[in-house]
């Protein structure tokens, strides 16, 4: 169940081979993150799910059914899509932008609008903003509208392409936290693309790390990737090799515990000391990333 | 074909007449438009009046302009000078806007950098603004040259000799070859001038070659 990529390949008409022989599964009701630097095929893989891109090899199955036989337009209407730049229609009010998908699926104007208002509230926006035009919102607000639009029609699958990549760090953090809250409530099958390691570690139940050339470097949970990087590339990409994610604790002046990275730069303070203390004796002391911030 | 062979002398003569109408008009339109565009670019309050004002000229149809202008200038309707003046005004209607837009498009960063290096306002104009706006201005000039050469034929209905005379004569006397020869010569002249403009653009602005 979920979304299954089976030996998927994509070579664009101009000869660019974007992804080669990729297999993984996005389990239902969980978040899978496609992580990798720019150009390694994340967007290509994501767009295969709603047939914005068709693979040149392999198969893609949703709940066991090959989507090659699905009608693209109908498929897209059943899947939510959120992109980096909100891509909102500038000539339609925010509320109508959110309602677009509902209208495409045949909802009448009135019900579509009231549903769209609920969605705005769900993503933390004042429904009164619905009367505005997209250009009259801040970048963060536009991005929230983008999420609301993706959720319209209550799709089982939500595709997100660097959804928080274009907003400033504070707003990004806020949006990520909201996304987590929403996901515990809605439990969509989410496939999210990012090049931001923090975002991947914080949002992904599963992380698929891609390497340049469009291959999977490693797939697993955040813990698995951090504690057992498959190779040098993974270790370097996650920053384990340079010690960015090798954390140590040491006793501070007032008896609290200070967390430092491998180079001794302090990162933060531990509130409840983790059991018996031998700070200098513990060489690795790695902690899950959520605590490491 | 026979007609054309028998009339090469006349065709050549009319081609020269045509060039004498359109080339000065293209040149004058360019030389008058650039200073106006610079003014529009440098003095913001003047921008709208200059650009919209000359743009309005474009709304004035060509044939009536050929007729109204001599009344204002005091030249005769069949005077070639009248045709040159009308064509110049037409060229300016297009050229002022495109030159002003070309200058506007020179990035503010590049200007600031040049100012920071110590260029005076005028030094910067010659060394930075004009060269960088050049390619876009050239694009505007090409449109002006093609349309001026094509438009110049209209003056023939008023009796000013040009390649358009081949149309009017041919039509009145029912000689298809005459009209065809006129069309071909007009298009060829437009193409040759366009080619010359492109080539001189490459010579004068080698930095723009990659983009073009």
């Amino acid at each position: 169940m979920g979304i299954e990529f089976r030996h998927v390949e994509k070579t664009y008409p101009d000869g660019a081979q974007a992804v080669r022989d990729i297999s993984f599964t996005v389990p239902s009701h969980t978040t899978t993150v496609l992580l990798g630097s720019s150009g390694c095929g994340k967007t290509t893989l994501l767009r295969m799910v709603n047939r914005m891109v068709d693979p040149t090899g392999g198969q893609l199955l949703i709940d066991g059914e090959d989507i090659a036989g699905a009608e693209p337009v109908r498929l897209r209407r059943s899947i939510g899509y959120v992109m980096q730049h909100s891509g909102l229609l500038p000539h339609r009010r925010v509320i109508d932008n959110v309602a677009t998908g509902l209208r495409l699926n045949g909802a009448a104007r009135g019900p579509a609008r009231s549903q769209a208002e609920e969605l705005l509230e769900l993503v933390g926006l004042d429904p009164a903003l619905g009367r505005r035009y997209p250009d009259q919102l801040s970048g963060g607000q536009q991005q929230r509208v983008g999420v609301a639009r993706g959720l319209a029609g209550d799709p089982n699958i939500l595709l997100m392409d660097e959804p928080f990549g274009a907003v400033d760090p504070l707003v990004r953090l806020e949006l990520q936290q909201q996304m987590k809250r929403l996901q515990t409530e809605l439990r969509k099958t989410v496939l999210l693309v990012t090049h931001d390691i923090e975002e991947a570690l914080s949002l992904g139940d599963q992380i698929i790390l891609l390497r340049p050339g469009g291959e999977i470097a490693q797939a697993g949970t955040a813990q698995e990737l951090l504690s057992a990087p498959a190779d040098d590339f993974v270790a370097r990409f996650l920053g384990v090799a340079q010690g960015r994610r090798r954390l140590r604790t040491s006793a501070g002046q007032d008896g609290e515990w200070v967390v430092t990275d491998a180079e001794g730069r302090p990162l933060g303070v531990v509130e409840a000391p983790p059991g018996p203390v031998h700070p200098r004796a513990d060489p690795s002391g790695s902690v899950p990333p959520e605590d490491g911030r | 074909m026979d007609w054309i062979l028998a009339n090469t002398g006349r065709i050549a003569e009319l081609t020269l007449d045509h060039a004498a109408l359109s080339l000065p008009a293209v040149l004058a339109a360019f030389l008058l438009s650039v200073p106006l565009a610079v003014l529009a670019n440098r003095l913001r309050p003047l921008r709208e009046p200059i650009v919209s004002g000359t743009g309005l000229l474009y709304a004035v149809p060509s044939l009536p302009l050929f007729i109204v202008l001599p009344i204002i200038l005091g030249t005769g309707i069949r005077d070639p000078l009248n045709a040159v003046a009308a064509l110049t005004l037409f060229g300016m209607a297009l050229m002022v806007r495109s030159a002003a837009e070309a200058l506007d498009a020179v990035s503010a960063e590049v200007r600031l950098a040049a100012a920071a290096q110590g260029y005076s306002s005028w030094g910067r104009f010659w060394t930075v603004d004009l060269p960088l706006a050049g390619p876009a201005m050239l694009a505007g000039l090409r449109v002006v040259s093609v349309s001026t050469i094509s438009l110049a034929t209209v003056s023939a209905v008023l009796g000013v000799p040009s390649l358009g005379s081949l149309f009017t004569d041919g039509f009145q006397r029912g000689i298809m070859e005459s009209v065809l020869a006129g069309v071909v010569m007009t298009v060829v002249m437009a193409l040759i001038l366009d080619l010359l403009l492109v080539l001189s653009g490459r010579l004068l602005m080698p930095w723009a070659r990659r983009r073009a």
Binding site: L89 | P61, F171
Partner: protein, 221 residues
């Protein structure tokens, strides 16, 4: 300047405007020619331009042919077609349509192309069909440029439609050529002034429509 005054006096006389060959009838004819020529051109150029803008193919061909057609002297096309089909409305219509098509075509494909590709992409991802993207996204958002192309075509056609009378059709060219042949400068000038007024009025009207479209498509600020 005397001629100008005489022309003005001619224009404020009621006689000048009435009758089957009066200035009023001629102006009406002129307007009809313009609407007809621009209308037919739009029927050709709008679908073609939208196809180029929507599919992003054939753009080079469109640019090249618009440029080439612009170099064609309208008077030449007019007299050439006139020689083939004889005097009447056919020749001017062909010439005016050839004149108008490039402007509308260029405006239309630039309009359709001018829409932010990310917006088109998002519309596609939402599950809009090609037709829905065209009619709900590309046409409305490209409207200011599309109208701009039509506006330019109208201006060109209004002015050039005077030549229709040269091959025996009507319009405001009729009094103009009559004045030219009979050295009746006031009549010549009067006809010219009416065309100029017509062109300026049409331009102002289209300018207003264009601004309105631009405002609507951007959303009131």
């Amino acid at each position: 300047m005397n001629h100008l005054l005489e022309a003005w006096e001619l224009l404020i006389q009621a006689d000048t405007w009435t009758g089957p060959t009066g200035m009023g009838a001629r102006a009406w004819e002129h307007l009809l020619y313009t609407v007809l020529a621009v209308g037919v051109s739009a029927l050709i150029a709008l679908p073609a331009g939208l196809a180029v803008g929507h599919f992003g193919r054939g753009r080079n061909l469109a640019v090249l042919s618009t440029g080439a057609v612009r170099a064609l002297p309208t008077l030449g096309v007019l007299t050439l077609v006139g020689l083939v089909v004889g005097v009447g409305l056919m020749a001017p219509m062909v010439a005016l349509i050839i004149l108008a098509v490039p402007s509308i075509l260029a405006g239309t494909y630039s309009g359709a192309e001018s829409v932010d590709p990310r917006v088109v992409d998002a519309a596609r991802a939402q599950g809009m069909s090609r037709w829905q993207i065209l009619f709900a996204v590309q046409i409305p958002l490209g409207l200011p440029l599309i109208i701009g192309g039509i506006r330019l075509a109208v201006l060109q056609v209004v002015g050039t439609a005077m030549l229709a009378a040269y091959v025996g059709a009507g319009g405001l060219g009729a009094p103009l050529f009559l004045g030219l042949r009979t050295y009746d400068y006031p009549l010549l000038l009067a006809a010219s002034l009416v065309v100029i007024a017509l062109a300026v009025l049409l331009d102002i009207a289209f300018g207003t429509v264009q601004r309105t479209a631009r405002r609507l498509m951007r959303g009131p600020a």
